[in-house]
């Protein structure tokens, strides 16, 4: 558990009578880029949502940077821990009632106590990094899907988190818009060394940027391997079948 930013041990989750996660154990260390792949309904997104407690697990251990979190964690402590783990959603979830800049600066100003000038300066750097400097004063609804997702990435980065969770970040996008988002993520992974956990259907992308690949099926981790080994020396017939279909 020491040294892992995200530590899960034997995590169980049921929705009603359906077991969604059945004994997940996992460690994400600083600098890891972990791709989580697998068929729909395998529990990938639920796993990600449990990491920052948008869902509560029924049993097992979840710890962020050594701090245990579960349904009993006080709201304030949970909020503090969540600032250490950014999240990027499939549906973007930008706040439509404020500008792009305010979407990025709201949390730093409210939680980290940055002045408007400091927060704006930081946000402008982040917007430059995701290639959206010209859009700073626009409303989210005036952006394309790919631009929205890049703003969402900048918003997550603004809290300077230890790791960022990506929940199918390109699934709602056309292929040509996906690419601009994937390029930003690749840049973060390779040049900025941002720790990431990425649930994705983009197998090619996972292969290109992830250093570890986790394959899930039926609420279990079937395989957790270095990406090279996973793709080049794959033996598991189920995984080979999955890879051949995508």
């Amino acid at each position: 558990m020491t040294g892992s930013l995200i530590h899960l041990h034997n995590v169980q989750k049921k929705f009603g009578h359906t077991t969604v996660l059945d004994g997940i154990s996992l460690d994400v260390r600083a600098g890891d880029v972990m791709a989580v792949i697998g068929p729909s309904g395998s529990g990938k997104s639920t796993l990600l949502r449990i990491v920052n407690q948008l869902e509560q697990h029924d049993a097992g251990l979840v710890a962020i940077n050594g701090e245990k979190i579960d349904a009993a964690t006080p709201r304030r402590q949970l909020a503090r821990i969540r600032t250490q783990v950014g999240m990027v959603f499939q549906g973007f979830h930008l706040w439509p009632n404020m500008s792009v800049l305010d979407n990025i600066t709201l949390a730093p100003r409210t939680i980290r106590g940055l002045s408007r000038e400091q927060a704006d300066a930081q946000a402008e750097q982040l917007l430059a990094r995701v290639g959206l400097s010209a859009q700073r004063d626009r409303r989210p609804e005036n952006l394309s899907g790919g631009q929205k997702q890049r703003v969402a990435i900048a918003r997550a980065l603004a809290m300077e988190p230890l790791a960022i969770l990506f929940d199918e970040p390109t699934s709602a996008l056309d292929p040509h818009l996906s690419n601009e988002v994937l390029e930003v993520m690749a840049d973060l992974a390779t040049t900025a060394g941002v720790t990431m956990m990425v649930v994705t259907h983009e197998i090619g992308f996972a292969r290109r940027i992830a250093n570890r690949t986790v394959y899930m099926q039926g609420g279990r981790i079937v395989q957790d391997a270095p990406t090279d080994t996973f793709f080049e020396h794959q033996q598991d017939p189920d995984i080979l079948k999955f890879l051949s279909h995508t």
Binding site: A79, R82, M87, F89, W95, N97, L106, A107, R139, A156
Partner: protein, 220 residues
């Protein structure tokens, strides 16, 4: 018709209209704050708070306002709570409006997609700024038309507190026509004054909707 006679009484009617405006403003303000508190309690505080709010809404919306005015004005003194007509009237109107506003706000809050709140949780934003900066501003747009509608009802409902002799527009009109016997003229002027007050709210709604529309289409 004898408009000249009514003209003499116009200062009294205008003063009474001022009272109606004051009572309305206080009832709307009190009802808005309490309604928002109840709506948030119902959505955030779990089953018992939700049940209590639902019971309050059921009780208040299910009985006539006139009856509620009588309850507060004639019943509460029996329990040792003695209120003058004006504060009693404002209180009943505010508490009555609270039930309607709470329901309007609750349904408006529900229109904000859960992803909006999840995004706030995910960056570690506490509850209050999440509500103040993200949820309530987005719920404002769907809440506006029914909110203004209910506020107009509050203005018109102020006429009912005349029965406990609060000297607002309706009470004053009645006193004037019972001494002058000029019912049609007096009530006619009162009607125009009521329309003036409710028009403020309708103009406010048009202005706000215009602003919301403009802010949406604006590219700064």
């Amino acid at each position: 018709m004898n408009w000249a006679l009514v003209w003499n009484y116009l200062p009294y009617l205008l003063h009474a209209a001022g009272m109606t405006l004051l009572i309305s403003a206080m009832a709307i303000a009190g009802g808005t704050v309490l309604g928002l508190v109840l709506a948030l309690a119902r959505s955030e505080l779990g089953r018992w708070a939700g049940f209590t709010v639902a019971a309050y809404t059921w009780l208040v919306r299910g009985t006539p306002l006139l009856l509620q005015i009588f309850v507060v004005y004639y019943w509460l003194p029996g329990l040792g709570i003695r209120l003058a007509a004006f504060p009693a009237g404002v209180m009943v109107l505010a508490l009555n409006a609270t039930a309607y506003y709470a329901d309007i706000f609750r349904s408006a809050l529900q229109t904000v997609p859960p992803g909006q709140i999840e995004a706030a949780l995910a960056v570690g934003l506490p509850w209050l700024p999440t509500m103040r900066r993200i949820v309530i501003p987005q719920a404002f747009v769907p809440a506006l038309p029914p909110y203004i509608g209910q506020s107009i009802t509050v203005v018109k409902n102020t006429s009912l507190v005349s029965v406990i002799s609060v000297q607002e527009l309706m009470f004053t009109s009645e006193s004037i026509y019972s001494s002058t016997y000029r019912v049609v003229e007096t009530i006619g002027v009162a009607g125009v004054l009521y329309l003036g007050i409710t028009s403020i709210l309708q103009v406010f709604q048009i202005w706000m909707e215009h602003r919301i529309h403009a802010s949406k289409t604006r590219v700064r």
